[in-house]
Symmetry: C2
DNA sequence: TCCGCTCTTGACCATTTGATCAAGAATTAT
DNA sequence: ATAATTCTTGATCAAATGGTCAAGAGCGGA
């Protein structure tokens, strides 16, 4: 009688390493070409691996894509999650915006991956958008609204404020080609960060402090 | 001796009509699926036309895409072009932002088409970005800077202000799936417009009027 | 060491898809 | 009317691509 092993495959060292290599390669390829535009061969090539070998770890192209999204999603919301109701409102928002700008600069590929997914109707992360994301935003919008009603922040729609922060910060990653074309390829990163903080926050200082 | 006709094909009524039908169908398909994701068959089907017939008007898939981009690009910049140095700064910016918000709502497909193209490195419109777009933005940034130096507008980096306006307004078209998921599918359009105007412009009121 | 399990890959397959072609239908000009 | 031109499409092709398979190489525990 054959021994019954745990059928869920334990992650070998090799598995861990190769899955990581694949996800790394996949991020590069998917963020450049999108899901449809990317090919399994491209990802395999970037991961220094034969196509069948890659498909040994992820049986379908879609599996790589989904794993990659999940692998990246959690970290993406961390800055918003860190918004502290007990902190100073302007300082908290400033920290949030700065963190998002730094993420855009440090990891533009992840930003483009999400942008692509959402632009195409978010077929893979619909659940995430309508669940955890919606809930987190509701929670943080309430925090912002609280700051406003207690006079520590000027009034504005909290939801649309969050959208504006997302839009502006991610713009520098998602549309970097356009930004660089218009600016003429200069831009040290820091100046954008300063300008964005200024534009988004100046109007939020409370009237009678 | 065969008669030498003008080899450049004169646009027949049928040609004009069919090219228009194709571009209309192509906008729907490309804006949903991107260049790589879209198929000629899909476009042909939407245009009620056989694939070879479609390829009689545009010989390659890429030709449809480029024609569509050119067909849509010109109108896209009109609101920015209309920014009037002689007008009231806040009113002008308000009109610009409102116009962009309305374009996002009225024609989200065009917005997504561009977003996709730029996200993927803008291979087809690089020239446009580095030429006409860069020039127009430089011109209008100068107008905004003038308003600021003459005290009619608070100081901020004009380029990044324009980027912020683009980012926020187009966000509602490009990421509508996310916006709707987070808001829970309500949203009448007008409230977003008001909120965006408020968030972007409040900080720009001059200090000592 | 040896046996079983994991890992790797060249060859291959089926489908999708951009593009072509030849032949016929419709339209236009004379 | 009729000849020339434009328009339309079924059939077909070649390349790209997601995915499979069988067979062998490598590794780890007894």
């Amino acid at each position: 009688m054959p021994q019954l092993k745990t059928k869920a495959p334990i992650n070998t060292r090799i598995q861990a390493r190769n899955k990581e290599l694949i996800l790394e390669a996949a991020l590069e390829v998917f963020s450049i070409s999108g899901f449809r535009g990317a090919t399994v061969d491209q990802i395999a090539a970037r991961a220094d691996m034969s196509k069948p070998n890659l498909l040994y770890y992820f049986r379908r192209k879609e599996d790589i894509y989904v794993a990659l999204l999940e692998h990246t999603l959690s970290g993406w919301l961390e800055p918003l999650r860190a918004l502290d109701p007990a902190g100073d409102p302007l300082a908290e928002l400033s920290r949030y915006i700065t963190a998002k700008m730094q993420m855009s600069e440090a990891n533009p590929m992840a930003s483009r991956l999400f942008a692509n997914e959402i632009l195409h109707g978010a077929p893979m992360i619909e659940k995430f958008l309508k669940g955890p994301l919606k809930q987190l935003v509701a929670e943080k919008a309430e925090v912002i609204r609280f700051w406003m009603t207690t006079g520590k922040l000027a009034h504005a729609d909290p939801y649309h404020l969050i959208f504006a922060i997302w839009a502006v910060t991610q713009h520098y990653a998602d549309f970097s080609v356009q930004v660089e074309a218009v600016l003429g390829r200069r831009e040290n990163g820091g100046s954008a960060q300063k300008a964005v903080l200024d534009i988004l926050l100046r109007g939020l200082r409370p009237r009678q402090p």
